[in-house]
């Protein structure tokens, strides 16, 4: 009962945020980057949530900010998952030097805090939507590799994989027909965690000023822009931060339920 309630609230929050992001141009009362008010007007006087330090409508900026956050999060997480899981399966099937080379490369990636690694790469390559997504995908793929490699290793020794080997199947059959379907329950959990951590990651990068570049802003960027207003006694900067938190919590709520459901299905046993 409690888990059902969590699920419904989580789905509700996610649907609401998704609708807000998708229909941002229709819902926003003002263009996000135009100065339509004076600085730091309180809610009610100027727009739903007041105005920011440059007199822009905060509510409109949050709607557009969610677009950036969600786009980067979803694309980067999908890419990271695809890279990490595929490499893990290849390493598990080939073992030997392939396994060692991929494994050590991932060790190197993981030995440096991701945010610092991202700072270095973005400083060298320059910040754009593409480099951001690519950097995050590569860095976060290491986690997927770590989680997937032992599971894929166990599955690779299964006798149905041996049957496929005796038949002479190609690599893609092994990967996507024999091994991948058996990893889905564990991958679902990892994908959910990945979505939250990617959302936090892009928000942190933007908060540090090397994420989405002004005048555009994602949720993390909005927290940074409005941080000064906190000192002025305004609560509005907390709204984008709360959006990030709500997103992460809701994603986990849905994934918890999915994992439980998937492992209850008879063919999963």
């Amino acid at each position: 009962m409690w888990s059902k309630l969590t699920l419904f609230i989580s789905i509700g929050v996610l649907v609401l945020m998704a609708l807000g992001a998708i229909f941002a141009p229709l819902l926003a009362a003002y263009p996000p980057n135009e100065m339509v008010f004076t600085a730091f007007q309180p809610p009610g006087e100027a727009g739903l949530l007041g105005s920011d330090g440059l007199g822009r409508d905060l509510f409109s900026r949050i709607l557009f900010g969610m677009r950036y956050t969600f786009l980067v999060t979803i694309v980067a997480t999908s890419l990271a998952g695809a890279i990490g899981v595929t490499l893990a399966m290849i390493a598990a099937l080939n073992k030997g030097w392939v396994d060692i080379v991929i494994g050590r490369a991932v060790d190197i990636l993981m030995s440096v805090p991701q945010i610092i690694f991202a700072l270095i790469i973005l400083a060298i390559s320059g910040v754009s939507l593409y480099t951001l997504i690519a950097t995050m995908a590569v860095l976060q793929s290491s986690t997927y590799f770590r989680v997937t490699r032992p599971i894929a290793g166990d599955l690779a020794t299964m006798e149905y994989v041996e049957v496929a080997r005796l038949r002479g199947e190609g690599l893609s059959w092994y990967l996507f027909r024999e091994i991948l379907p058996n990893m889905i329950p564990s991958l679902l959990a990892q994908f959910g965690l990945g979505l939250s951590s990617a959302a936090l990651f892009i928000s942190s990068l933007s908060f540090l000023g090397i994420g989405i570049q002004p005048p555009a802003a994602d949720l993390g960027g909005l927290v940074r822009e409005n941080a000064l207003a906190l000192a002025a006694g305004r609560w509005t900067p907390l709204v984008p931060a709360m959006c990030i938190a709500a997103f992460c919590l809701s994603v986990n709520g849905v994934v918890d339920w999915l994992v439980g459901r998937y492992s209850d299905r008879p063919e999963a046993r």
């Binding site: 027909r177 063919e267 999963a268």
Partner: protein, 530 residues
């Protein structure tokens, strides 16, 4: 009378949700008596045996009846009372001693754990008790045996150490749950003999569970036949074996009967030839200088105990483990050592069936996908043609066609093994390599798989390399038999010759160790063994 009665279970019902695990079961065991429980997996025999100490797996509930052990009504006791009864009055010997011992502690500390818990004996006294039991169970160097760790002793020794653990408390009742199923036949005999000896000398009551009627008939004074949670038949051992009343018991007994040799085909063309093959892993040579030949349309049994190299040889033939020296030839063509280097047709013509169908079937694919894949892969058959062929294959393995859209998890063990056979047949092979494919199945299911294979040899023009540790099976099913020991082929020839005039001592011992229903068989073998 009541004085000697150790265990009385009357009208016991055990339910797990909607399933009735035990339905109105009543048994009793007296002091000095061994009661055999026999039945296939899922018959409820373990549930009943654990029920004797009022131990039920989670989710199972006793919903009726009573259990009286050593004069105490167990279902009326509280948790503390139950603990005391279990600790002092009963002992349990599990199937896998290797899983039952903690690898971290020395054997003696584990064997004497219960006396140590009760705290009324000194360490020296406990050591004397353990050493005396080790001696009684004929373990080597009984004085120091207990200093070893579980991994330092053999499987048979570990099973005997577990019996010592059971005896140390002088329980009224010992429950033996398939204590020799995991052992090789020659090791099994020793353990069986000792179990019988100690149950007599210690004068306790025993429940002996097994799926092997021959073993039970040697061990038990009375036998209860279980099926689907009900008692099918019970009676004194001799009476039940010689004159079974119910149809099910009759089938069980008939299944144990003396086998007849399969009719051979003497002038069969040689299909597969293995000559002077060595196979190894690292420094270990698992197969040494093995030569066998498989004729078209015949069955060659490869028998031996665990570790004899029979599976390694089979894997080398299949190309899963490369041969070091020697050659594997099919119709005169030499096969590459690894399957990856073999041609498309060579891979198609040799099909391998694994021991455990649970691991050999991908749980996320439907039966249609599993059996359909070799059709598409080897023969390019798809769509409606594939559907027709799949129905034929399901008919060949005697399963309904609507199973095609099921997942393996909804099938029984025997049905899963049939699906593995269908998958091999889909490739249209010449040779099936069957690696212990029935050893995880119940005897009657095993028999039906063998009947199926016998039928398929004719229909599909198959030749079979049949790896097994079950000599009775080799006798009934194969035309030729090769006996392996320590990686070498010790004896090889027509099955009848190998069984009737064995040349080596080891083969004689192996054949002699196969349990039989005959009264006094165990005593006879024990005497012969000295």
């Amino acid at each position: 009378m009541t004085d000697t009665r150790i265990l009385t279970i009357s009208n016991l019902k055990v339910e797990a949700g909607p399933n009735l695990l035990l339905d109105d079961v009543s048994i009793h065991v007296d002091r000095g008596e061994v009661l055999g429980l026999i039945g296939e997996s899922g018959a409820g025999k373990s549930t009943l045996a654990l029920g004797a100490i009022a131990l039920f797996r989670s989710g199972c509930q006793p919903t009726g009846g009573s259990i009286t052990l050593s004069g105490q009504s167990l279902l009326e006791l509280d948790a503390a009372g139950l603990d005391t009864v279990r600790r002092t009055k009963a002992a349990y010997v599990a199937q896998s001693a290797a899983a039952a011992f903690n690898p971290f502690y020395r054997l003696e500390d584990q064997v004497t754990e219960v006396p140590a818990m009760r705290g009324h004996l000194s360490r020296a006294e406990r050591h004397r008790m353990a050493a005396a039991l080790f001696e009684e169970l004929q373990l080597p160097d009984p004085e120091n045996f207990g200093r070893r760790y579980p991994h330092q002793v053999s499987g048979g020794q570990l099973q005997r150490a577990m019996i010592a653990m059971a005896l140390i408390n002088q329980p009224d009742l010992i429950i033996f749950d398939e204590p020799t199923t995991a052992l090789d036949v020659t090791t099994q005999i020793e353990v069986l003999r000792l179990i019988r000896k100690v149950t007599r000398t210690h004068n306790c009551a025993a429940l002996y569970i097994s799926h092997d009627l021959a073993v039970v008939s040697q061990m038990a004074d009375r036998i209860v036949v279980m099926r689907n949670g009900r008692m099918v038949e019970q009676g004194p051992t001799r009476q039940l074996v010689d004159n079974p009343q119910t149809e099910y018991a009759q089938r069980l007994v008939a299944n144990q009967g003396e086998g007849t040799y399969a009719a051979g085909n003497d002038n069969a063309q040689t299909l597969l030839e293995v000559s002077h093959v060595d196979v190894g892993y690292g420094a270990l040579t698992a197969v040494k200088d093995a030569s066998i030949a498989l004729g078209a349309g015949s069955v060659l049994a490869l028998v031996g105990e665990s570790g004899s190299g029979k599976t390694t040889l089979a894997r080398a033939i299949a190309g899963l483990q490369p041969v070091r020296t020697g050659a594997v030839r099919m119709r005169g063509e030499t096969l590459a050592p690894l399957v990856e280097r073999r041609t498309f047709d060579q891979r198609r013509l040799v099909q391998y069936i694994h021991q455990l169908p649970d691991l050999a079937l991908n749980g996320r694919q439907t039966i249609r996908e599993i059996v359909g894949r070799p059709l598409a892969f080897f023969h390019g058959i798809k769509g409606a043609a594939a559907d027709a062929r799949l129905r034929e294959l399901m008919e060949a393995i005697e399963l309904p066609a609507d199973y095609l859209d099921r997942y393996p998890a909804s099938l029984s063990g025997g049905q899963k093994q049939r699906i593995c056979i269908a998958r091999s047949l889909a490739a249209k092979p010449d040779i099936l390599i069957c690696d212990e494919i029935t050893s995880a199945l119940d005897p009657l299911v095993e028999e039906s798989i063998i009947r199926l294979l016998t039928k398929l040899i004719e229909e599909e023009a198959l030749s079979i390399l049949f790896i097994t540790h079950n000599l009775g099976l080799a006798l009934r099913f194969s035309h030729e038999t090769a006996v392996m020991q320590s990686g070498q082929i010790l004896e090889y020839g027509p099955t009848r010759a190998v069984f009737e005039t064995p040349q080596s001592d080891y083969t004689r011992r192996l054949i002699g160790a196969v349990p039989q229903l005959r009264e006094g068989w165990l005593d006879g073998v024990s005497r012969a063994a000295g």
